[in-house]
């Protein structure tokens, strides 16, 4: 087999070498840190995803070594292949930042901003995006588009109001399950995720749509309103499961397991499991094994980037920016998102979750 040719791409003045056929986004992720454009709809494990939310727009200031013309429009980095000698501006382009701010505003236009009662709050990609690219106040004075919460099966609740139409759950259902029961109905502003005539989603792997949802539109019924995510402590655990890899993340408080999710990588996507495949988990692991005794607990999870809960904690595991990089990339120090631990009355700021032995317990905060 022929060797895959390596090409050099320059993103925000940082040159990185990637194999031919890599997208700009994947190359930027290789650089890491704030250079990687935010993504709302792209999901590396789901074929065909991406290109829809337009948050990952970048400016291509030089097409390639052979054809140095810049691209006339901003391009979606998740669906544009990198070329040898390509020069890309992400954080360093005002045009890109403006477009990204615009997309953020558009996404929030019909979003209910009900974060105080939303289960996704704290690990929501739209929250992250708003912290980085949003404005303080909205400019819209119109009534938001609203839907009734929809019951789509025994385990999953759909809040269409919060949905940003990333299509990820549709791709996930299409690619992980044998049959897809839900999809996009209607078009334009009225487009919504739904099942045709109130069907129930009950495939063995359908629970993964909760994990791929970037916002709180698809939530876990067994976890709804039970706990805020930042009060729970994520622990890696595994069990012998015949259907999936059995490698999961438990969200615990004390000895109680509040929630089970797949393990996620620094981009908020399902991490590769030890068998080399994406670690999607089955419904049984996700919804039924809610006792600590069901699991072999490995230890605190590595959490980085896409989570408020990680800020300032888990010191050793936070994504370290590459040394020697920051001098070249002006203004790209990791942005400190709001640290909920600092503003919450519940815990003492001097208690570092990472220094607690084992899962955090309410006793620890007294």
């Amino acid at each position: 087999m022929a060797e895959v040719q390596n090409i050099k791409v320059t993103i925000d003045n940082i040159t990185v070498e990637v194999p031919m056929g890599t997208t700009i986004l994947e190359a930027a992720r290789k650089v890491g840190g704030e250079v990687a454009p935010p993504t709302m709809c792209y999901y590396s494990h789901l074929k065909g995803s991406g290109g829809k939310c337009r948050t990952c727009l970048v400016e291509v200031s030089k097409g390639s070594e052979k054809d140095p013309r810049p691209m006339p429009k901003l391009v979606a980095s998740c669906r544009t292949g990198a070329m040898d000698g390509m020069e890309v501006k992400s954080m360093t382009s005002e045009k890109v930042i403006d477009a990204r701010n615009g997309v953020t505003e558009f996404l929030l236009l019909n979003h209910p901003l009900d974060c105080p009662v939303c289960d996704q709050a704290g690990e929501c990609h739209l929250q992250d995006l708003s912290y980085e690219n949003g404005t303080e106040a909205t400019r819209t004075t119109f009534e938001r588009r609203t839907f009734e919460p929809e019951d789509i099966g025994p385990n999953i609740q759909l809040h269409m109001n919060r949905c940003i139409m990333c299509f990820r759950c549709v791709f996930a259902a299409e690619q992980l399950t044998d049959y897809r029961e839900h999809g996009i109905l209607d078009r334009g502003e009225h487009a919504r995720i739904s099942t045709c005539i109130s069907k129930s989603l009950d495939h063995d792997f359908i629970g993964n749509v909760i994990d791929v949802c970037p916002v709180g539109a698809l939530t876990d019924k067994t976890f709804r309103f039970k706990q805020r995510v930042w009060f729970t402590k994520p622990m890696d655990a595994h069990c012998a499961c015949t259907k999936c890899s059995g490698e999961v993340r438990l969200w615990m408080r004390g000895d109680e397991v509040y929630r089970v999710t797949a393990r996620k990588d620094e981009w908020g996507e399902v991490a590769i499991a030890s068998n080399g495949k994406p670690g999607w988990i089955c419904n049984e692991c996700r919804f039924e094994k809610k006792k600590a005794s069901d699991w072999v607990i490995e230890g605190p999870s590595n959490i980085s980037r896409h989570s408020v809960i990680s800020q300032g904690h888990y010191n050793k595991t936070v994504h370290e920016p590459q040394i020697g990089l920051l001098a070249e990339v002006i203004g790209k120090q990791p942005i400190m998102k709001m640290d909920i631990h600092d503003v919450s009355d519940v815990n003492k700021p001097n208690v570092h979750l990472s220094q607690i032995d084992g899962p955090a317990h309410s006793e620890d905060f007294k």
Partner: protein, 448 residues
């Protein structure tokens, strides 16, 4: 000079006998004696540009078609003519179906497409029957089917009825819809020339472009290229509508001035009811609107002609586009704000909902415009509108986002005082029109 509509008024031209008598299918006979490469070369020489709106050179598009071994190729004709103000393809298909079918067979031969499709918009409910009848007649006379005229070339044409969506006029959405899926535009690349229908190389062309192939083959590409001005060759069908004395479909030469087209006796005969010309959208609803002074003369003071270059002279600052040829004329009684609101509503309704700027932005623009139109607007709303359209344009998957943003941008650019008047006189704007301002004087040119 008429190349397409020359025989449009011959009795029974819709049927095979009359069409054949006027010299129909002669071009096909000639084409089948040539090689496909020669045909593509002829079209290239003719300088024919896509008549669907973008004006991309057809010959170039054809030469981009990938030709992998053993993979069928397809020709898809875009008859999903949904742009408000455009109805030229309908006229062509309704009255000259055989001209169109002949063009399709020639193009299919040139591109090596054995199965070609016509994607026709759902609202044209009666036209598929006309086309299917023409296809049946062509087949009965040996111009379609297996081994056409003993050349060994097989060709089938299928008419596919759309369900009525503007977005399915976008070539990749059209392909998705043709495949039986939801009509969402695909993310390019790959372009249809590499992966189109069923992931096979595909050329998508407008009806008028395909029909224009017939005169090109009849008279030779070089001869055709001599007609017209500069890079606008041949003739163009314009569908004139709005406040005109004589609206309708006209075949125009490219050296016709805009003034002559609107006021000439041979053409639209001026504005209806003795009113004055206020503004015009020269190429279908998505191209920028122009006030009368900039429509008849360019910003440099030169006469504006009905061709690709002259209409886009001055860029979007002081120019517009020929687009698809939907020539919409507004007289002094028309309200530009209301008109823009109607267009914004159309784009909101027709957005596919796939990418965020267009899905959310089109509805936002409509609501802001609705407020202004109904006397509830604020001065900031005009800035807000400008900001919204700026952030939609160029940031979407398909050109619908641009198409939604341009009319709003142009209306604010050229008619800002009318917007401001609506904001400042909320009550008056409900009962009377802004009417004509300085820009309605055709002789006075406002510098950009």
């Amino acid at each position: 000079m008429k190349l397409l509509l020359e025989n449009a008024h011959v009795e029974g031209i819709r049927y095979y006998e009359a069409y054949r008598k006027t010299g129909g299918y002669r071009a096909l006979e000639k084409a089948l004696k040539m090689t496909p490469e020669e045909l593509v070369e002829e079209v290239k020489k003719s300088g024919l540009r896509g008549r669907g709106g973008a004006g991309f050179p057809t010959g170039l598009k054809w030469s981009f078609l990938a030709k992998p071994e053993g993979v069928p190729r397809h020709l898809v004709v875009n008859a999903d003519e949904s742009e408000p103000g455009t109805f030229k393809d309908r006229y062509l298909m309704e009255f000259l179906p055989h001209l169109f079918i002949e063009g399709m067979i020639i193009s299919s031969f040139a591109l090596g497409s054995n199965v070609s499709y016509v994607y026709i918009r759902g609202e044209y409910a009666w036209i598929p029957d006309i086309l299917e009848q023409a296809i049946a007649e062509a087949k009965a006379n040996g111009w379609l089917g297996k081994n056409i005229l003993g050349t060994g070339f097989d060709c089938e044409i299928y008419v596919h009825r759309g369900a009525g969506a503007y977005i399915c006029g976008e070539e990749t959405a059209l392909i998705e819809s043709l495949e039986g899926k939801r009509g969402n535009p695909r993310i390019k690349p790959p372009f249809p020339a590499i992966q189109g229908v069923w992931m096979r190389p595909t050329v998508v062309n407008n009806v008028e472009t395909i029909a224009a192939v017939v005169p090109i083959i009849n008279m030779g590409g070089e001869e055709y290229g001599k007609i017209g001005v500069g890079r606008s060759t041949g003739t163009k069908l314009m569908s004139a509508c709005g406040n005109l004395k004589r609206p309708g479909v006209y075949e125009i030469p490219f050296d016709l001035s805009v003034e002559e087209f609107i006021f000439g006796d041979e053409w639209c005969q001026g504005i209806a009811n003795g009113k004055k010309l206020k503004a015009c959208i020269p190429g279908g609803s998505s191209v920028p609107i122009l006030p009368a002074n900039l429509l008849l003369k360019t910003a440099k003071g030169e006469t504006r002609y009905m061709n690709y270059e002259s209409l886009s002279d001055g860029g979007f600052q002081t120019g517009s586009m020929l687009g698809s040829g939907g020539f919409i004329v507004l007289d002094e009684d028309q309200c530009v704000v209301r008109h823009t609101m109607t267009l914004a509503h159309f784009y909101m309704h027709e957005s596919c909902g796939q990418c965020s700027p267009c899905r959310e932005g089109t509805g936002w623009m409509y609501r802001v415009l609705k407020n202004i139109e109904n006397g509830k607007g604020k001065m900031e709303d005009i800035y807000l509108l400008w900001d919204i359209q700026r952030r939609i344009e160029g940031n979407t998957i398909c050109p619908l986002g641009d198409a939604a943003a341009w009319p709003v941008a142009a209306a604010i650019r050229h008619f800002r005082d009318e917007f401001e008047w609506h904001v400042l006189n909320p009550e008056e704007s409900q009962t009377r029109n802004f009417g004509l301002a300085h820009y309605a004087n055709p002789l006075e040119v406002v510098s950009a």
